[in-house]
Symmetry: C2
Subunit: 403 residues, 2 copies
């Protein structure tokens, strides 16, 4: 894509915000803050979000089918599960003005999570023991009544999330699937470049379950959570459930990027959803839900991977693979050649901008490979990886191999 | 994909609903009604929706950049444009219970359209005449305070939509782009199989503009709109703006699948968004918005393309290209061969279901090509197109050519 056709562009003078990810993603033209905790994904940001979500989708497709549930739901679903009055992040949609009120005075829940929705859907399609186990997931926008929306994409009122739900005829059947999801999450965070800094912590079940849950926590100085790492016993605890004596453990800040909730029979029971066993008897159904915040992951990636010049995207989620800069010569030929090789390229074709500004923007945006063509480079190209200090001259064929 | 792993399945005994699309899409397992006008897209339905949206995306990418705006917005944006109190489809998000109210008592508009959002974003990035013209689009879930949500996917409280916005330095510059979008829409509806029955009608500007707008209307007996076709003068009018004497025109029912609003300077003016011309003077900006309802299109396709046995999907949007049915022999080999040829195939691998039920489900689901393997077919396959009455025996290589 040509930079001149990108719609949004960098804005180095944008003011510092309360977090590195909000500041850098705004300056580099990835996101636009509509209000606290609510961000528009500009073209560059949407490309990164799509790549993150496609990595997640690739792993989830091995576990279950993708569907797309609704944002609105009737209050009845939440009454049935007992969460209508108790969940303090719950919002509802009501008419916004007198004209709307006169037109139609309905009230609908705006879903922050979908256990209360997927359970009756599963009940509709999966009555028999022969149908079990099964799992479904979606990737969707979620909403929370958040008092302190802050830290850019780390804590939003509106955010993107993958949620997977699995249903089982027994706890014994649930357990191995639950472990399989953990392995799937590890594969996802490895692909996202967060594998080595992401740990699985024991945590409380919150609004979901009285049992312990599990959180994928990425160690990150600016994270909101405190976790304790017990290296001796190979255990990690969220502060809220850590054993009394944590003095022998390492205390670190972390950001929750995924969670796993063993829900027991709570939600199926609430809807009187039982399976019919081989003898024709109705039996309780065991359920678990598994969240992974795709927009939050985008924020965490920036918190982890940046320097004083800008963002440093992992190759798997970078908006483009190559950032092509032309200096006083046309880069059109190399641009077309890169495209012909199916290499995603952002081409800074601006003519009224100094080389220094183009280099600065490239560092800020954080695409892995910077390629420069100028009078100086002749038939060659000047190549630099975002993580390297020095550039080198090379010919196109060698660069292709390097990629 | 194996039918047994599809999560949702057909349900022929599902009750008749108020429209053909709601009835057939529900019976065939494409959608699940969460409440009036609010539908979950089950795996088959999500596949169709994605195909429709990717066809739209392919054309839109020629006109502008894709971004993803927010569902929530601050009231201020709507106060600025004067639409906060006047738009009667407007809903707002408020805390859903006392606990939520105590936690955070905010109110946010739930966007039914995004002129009020995109204008300040454009203002942030596009100040100079050198930046014009430009266009951006998104594909996103929208919300309307709808009193009579009905007709399945034709009129929803929550629905999917593509919205494109273009900005110009003059009406003269806007006009050719506006015509270009019309051509783009024609290309989209052709690809969707709706081209020959879709006309461009003159309509009122509604909440958007005092000028006339244009609607893409698909002629459809069950459509909510009435349009008048003036064949002599090659004009089409929505009833609301039709000339007084319509007796010489053909009156038909139609369903609005797209619209184009020439908005003049209204929205940029409201935000005091002007461009700076070559002489340094601030000048008014002309804007237009262009909607296309992707989930409604899915409903219209079913209204148009079905018979008494079920849905007949156009090949471009069908959830799969081939519906493979095995009868008392394994279809695994042909299933894997089709996949190896990158042919999207739904494989009805169920063993506890009669051939008659499998054939009935195939007709109901409406995938273009039905392929049967059985003891009778031997090394050959039995092929039938959904639009044909008769099947024929053929070998795999010939079938590949037929595809």
């Amino acid at each position: 894509m040509r930079y001149s056709q990108l719609f949004a562009h960098t804005n180095k003078s944008a003011k510092q915000q309360d977090s590195v990810n909000a500041t850098l993603l705004t300056k580099a033209g990835f996101i636009y803050q509509t209000m606290a905790g609510v961000y528009t994904f500009l073209p560059l940001g949407l490309r990164v979000l799509n790549k993150i979500e496609n990595i997640i989708r690739g792993e989830m497709d091995k576990l279950g089918s993708e569907l797309l549930m609704t944002t609105l739901s009737p209050k009845e679903n939440w009454q049935t599960t007992g969460r209508l009055d108790s969940v303090d992040v719950l919002m509802k949609a009501v008419p916004a003005n007198d004209a709307a009120q006169a037109r139609h005075n309905g009230e609908y829940i705006i879903n922050p999570t979908h256990e209360d929705l997927i359970t009756p859907i599963a009940q509709r399609f999966k009555p028999s023991y022969k149908d079990f186990p099964f799992a479904v997931y979606q990737i969707q926008t979620k909403f929370r009544n958040e008092p302190r929306a802050k830290s850019g994409l780390l804590r939003g009122r509106e955010f993107r999330m993958k949620d997977l739900y699995s249903f089982h005829t027994s706890e014994a059947d649930l357990k191995p699937f639950y472990e399989k999801v953990k392995e799937s999450y590890k594969a996802i965070f490895n692909k996202l470049g967060l594998g080595k800094d992401t740990v699985v912590a024991v945590a409380s079940g919150g609004d979901f379950t009285k049992e312990y849950s599990h959180e994928f926590q990425t160690i990150c100085e600016t994270g909101e959570d405190t976790i304790y790492i017990d290296e001796e016993n190979n255990m990690v605890y969220n502060k809220e459930v850590a054993p009394a004596d944590t003095s022998s453990m390492k205390e670190v800040k972390a950001c929750e990027v995924g969670n796993l909730f063993p829900l027991g029979t709570r939600f199926p029971d609430a809807f009187d959803y039982k399976f019919v066993d081989a003898e024709g008897n109705r039996q309780p159904i065991y359920m678990a839900s598994y969240g992974l915040g795709s927009s939050r992951v985008m924020g965490v990636l920036v918190e982890k991977f940046h320097d004083d010049k800008g963002i440093i995207w992992p190759e798997t989620v970078a908006p483009f693979k190559v950032h092509l800069i032309s200096i006083r010569v046309s880069g059109d030929k190399i641009y077309k050649t890169l495209q012909a090789h199916n290499i995603e390229v952002l081409y800074d074709d601006r003519e009224d901008v100094s080389p220094g500004q183009k280099f600065g923007d490239a560092d800020l945006i954080g695409i892995p490979w910077r390629v420069v063509v100028s009078a100086k480079t002749g038939e060659q190209i000047e190549v630099k990886h975002r993580t390297q200090e020095e550039s080198h001259l090379t010919d196109f064929a060698s660069f292709l191999k390097e990629l």
